[in-house]
Structure formats: structure tokens, C-alpha cells
Symmetry: C2
Subunit: 228 residues, 2 copies
DNA sequence: TTCCCGAGGATTGTCGACAGTCGACGGAGC
DNA sequence: GCTCCGTCGACTGTCGACAATCCTCGGGAA
């Protein structure tokens, strides 16, 4: 019944991932819960009861509590004093806030990138865009989503600010929750390719204003008709 | 010896703040530690040993652990597995990252503000700037710092994005740690007043580019010659 | 009927104890 | 002298039990 090892040193026979194996119980529990939230097994708004989780995973409540606290800090879970934790409910207002936040960070990164006009940096982006094109050509939806995010992750990474990077990572995890709901963006896959292509071209040419406009449009794009 | 009440319902005779009194032990411990970090009692780099803290505050280790986790999420504390927590060390690189992050958020808020050109919103900012002027005129350094931050907090609040607001709040707490070190900015108090005045004027006139430039300069200003 | 209130169950918050891990110290081997 | 390895103390990670709080659901009064 226990999905997670009870003791840190104890071996999970069926788990091969070393980093997961060696991580503390709390981190492992957080990982499990994060996945369940991401894949929809745990629906937005559903309660997360410490005792149930600890029993199911075969651990005590302490690491479960810590895991919930971590997820709360990531914004995936909301904790109310004496009333427990629940998966953050999805609504349009929240998604808007997430995207605005994301926009603020990506704009910052973009500005940096254009300002230094470093060919090597742009080449890295180019590689990611090509990967996206390939995924779309294959008609692989999941890969397309990953490749899309990889482009933006790269953009952020190129800004060289770990704090911003961390915040962005946390935003992405949350935004991913909405992707299933708002898959519209990934239905028009060709548009997606075109958008990135145009964006990258603008960046390559050092067009500050244009690249920014394209970024704005892309991030907000496809999330217009959300109905959670 | 116990500075913090052991049990939630138990009364602390000398504490008047109701919200503090009613908060969970973990939150109270976090508050105490946060203050100690802020006022320099706990120096950057110093270790935070759970057992010591719990004994000193007269609580068990559980709430102390939770408090440390919260502070870690705020970026005030760094936790290394099996090796404990310590106050994040201050260095120039980190301050730069903090300020860049802050810049990204304030730029976003500013853009919003200028775009909607709402007199009521600008009036609120005006009030804060006036308060700063008054504090500077009185020569009250602490009040000047608070008034300065209040202006920026107001700017962020006007953007109406709770996520951004929360992130900003956390940034400010961290940036405050550097203010003692880098008090240069608050030495030239008149400059500070002038900067805000010019900034607000640009906002009132709807000058997108100018207001932004002034914001950039102001945020990065005074932190140039840091020597921690 | 509607509202208040108080018991009781479910769940979170806190505690003390034990298990596991890290880093320092010191001795053995080369 | 230098490196390796085992021991030891200090500390963190995890556990199960107890205390405090919230929520629900009846029962009684207006």
C-alpha cells in the first residue's frame, strides 16, 4: 500500500531514480502530490487530508505536513489554519494573474536578451524553436507543450537571475494545470510555430518593441476562452 | 525564558497584538525569527539550530521547523538537507538579483498604471510621495525608509495582482536586509525626494518611457557601492 | 419554521522520543 | 607527513500520541 518508502535509508525496490530515492520523505511526498495535481488525479478544490495521505503513502504526518507547506509555497496548494489544505481552485482571475506575472518575468528576460544581442544566446533559443517545430511536425501534442515551455524556460535562463528563474519555474507548474483545460492554444499548432518563429526573428533583428509585442501576444494567446 | 507561548490558546501576558496572539506557534516563531533577521540580531550566514530556538522560545521543534520552512520560502533562510538552516548570506550578486526581480515587477505595475491613466490611482501615489517628503523634512530616517517602500508598495498594489503583490512583499523583506548595509541611498535624502517627485510627474503626464527610466534609475540607485 | 447553542467527530497543531545523517577528530596504514 | 577510515557528538528527519480547533448535526426556545 505504501507508495513512498517509510525511512530515508530504506530501499524502494521498484524505484530506479537515485535522486528521488535519496531525497527526504517530505520531498518525495511533495513530488507524488505534485504529480497527482498535475495529471488531474487531484482536482482543484479537493481537500488534502494529512492523515489520509500519510496512511496511503505509509509515512507519518510530519513529512506530509512539510510537503504540503512546500506545495503551498509553490502556489499549488492553499492552507487554511486549522482547516487543512486543498488544491488551489482554478478560475479565470487566477490564470490571468499567473500569466501577467509570467509576462512581467519574460519581458524582463527578453529585454536583457535583446540588449546584449549575443549570437550564442540567440542560437540556444533557435535550437529550442527548431525542436518545437519538429514536435509539431510529428503531431506530438505532449512534446509540443514541453518544447514550447522549454523555449520560455531558456529565455528566462538567459537572463541569468536565479531568483527570477525559480519564480518562473513555480509559475509554469501552476500554468500547466490550466493547459489541459485551455488546450485551445495547442490545437492550432501551426499558429504556435509561426508565433515563435516570428518572435525569434524579431529578437535576432534586435527589434525591441516588436519582439515584446509578439511575446505579449503569445503568452496571452489561446487563453482567452477559458471555461473551467 | 519562553518568548513565545507554548500553546495557541495559552495567553501571553505581555503581548497585546491579537493577531499575533492567535496565530499558530509556527507563525509566531517565524515572526520572531524574521524580526531578528531584520534587525541584525541574527547575522547573515549564522546557523539556525532547531533545538536551540525551540528551547529558547519554549516550544517544541515542530513549529520551529515549520517556521524555518516558511522563512526559506520567503528567501530569508537557506535550508540544506541534514545540515540545517542558516540566514541567507548577503552578497552583491544576490542583491543585484533581488533588485532586478523587483524591477521586473515594478515595471509591470508602472506600465499598467500609465496605461489606464486613472486620476484616483495617481492621487493615491501622490499621497504617499507627500508622506515621504514630510518624513524627509522631519529628518526621520526610519520613517523615510518606510515611506519610500510605501510608495512602491502602492505602485504594486495598483496593478491589482495578488500574486505579484505577494512576491513583491517577499522581495522587500529581503531587500530591507541590505538597507542597513547600503544606507547610502538614504543618506542623500533630498535626492530621494527629488527622484520620487520626478517619477510621479512623469506618471501624471503619462510619459511611458520617461517614467520607466526614472523608475529603473531609482531602484538601482544608491546600491552601486555595496561592500558587505 | 427559524435561529441559537452545545455535543461529538474529524482534522489540524504541537509535543517528546527515537532513528538517521553529517562533520570533526584521531588513529592506522603507507 | 599524508591519506583513509571508523568513531563520536551534534543535529536534522521521522514517528506516534496528545491537545486544540473547526464543522456538522441535533435539540430546544422564540
Amino acid at each position: 500500500m505504501g507508495v513512498v518508502c517509510a525511512a530515508p535509508a530504506q530501499r524502494c525496490g521498484n524505484v530506479t531514480n537515485k535522486t528521488f530515492e535519496r531525497a527526504s520523505t517530505a520531498v518525495r511526498v511533495a513530488t507524488v502530490l505534485r504529480e497527482r495535481i498535475a495529471n488531474g488525479e487531484l482536482r482543484p478544490g479537493s481537500r488534502l487530508i494529512e492523515l489520509d495521505i500519510s496512511r496511503e503513502l505509509g509515512v507519518s504526518r510530519s513529512p506530509v505536513r512539510e510537503a504540503l507547506l512546500r506545495l503551498a509555497e509553490e502556489g499549488l496548494v492553499e492552507i487554511l489554519p486549522y482547516r487543512g489544505a486543498m488544491v488551489v481552485p482554478l478560475d479565470k482571475a487566477r490564470l490571468t494573474e499567473l500569466l501577467e506575472f509570467r509576462l512581467a518575468l519574460e519581458r524582463f528576460a527578453l529585454e536583457r536578451l535583446v540588449a546584449r544581442s549575443d549570437p550564442a544566446a540567440i542560437a540556444r533559443l533557435r535550437k529550442r524553436v527548431d525542436a518545437l517545430d519538429a514536435a509539431i511536425a510529428r503531431g506530438d501534442r505532449q512534446a509540443s507543450i514541453d518544447a514550447d515551455l522549454a523555449i520560455h524556460r531558456e529565455l528566462i535562463a538567459l537572463a541569468g537571475n536565479r531568483l527570477v528563474e525559480r519564480a518562473f519555474e513555480s509559475l509554469i507548474v501552476q500554468i500547466r494545470l490550466y493547459i489541459d483545460v485551455t488546450s485551445a492554444q495547442y490545437e492550432r499548432a501551426e499558429d504556435l510555430a509561426t508565433e515563435h518563429e516570428a518572435f525569434l526573428t524579431a529578437v535576432e533583428r534586435g527589434e525591441t518593441i516588436m519582439s515584446r509585442k509578439l511575446l505579449d501576444a503569445h503568452i496571452m494567446h489561446g487563453f482567452e476562452d477559458l471555461t473551467p
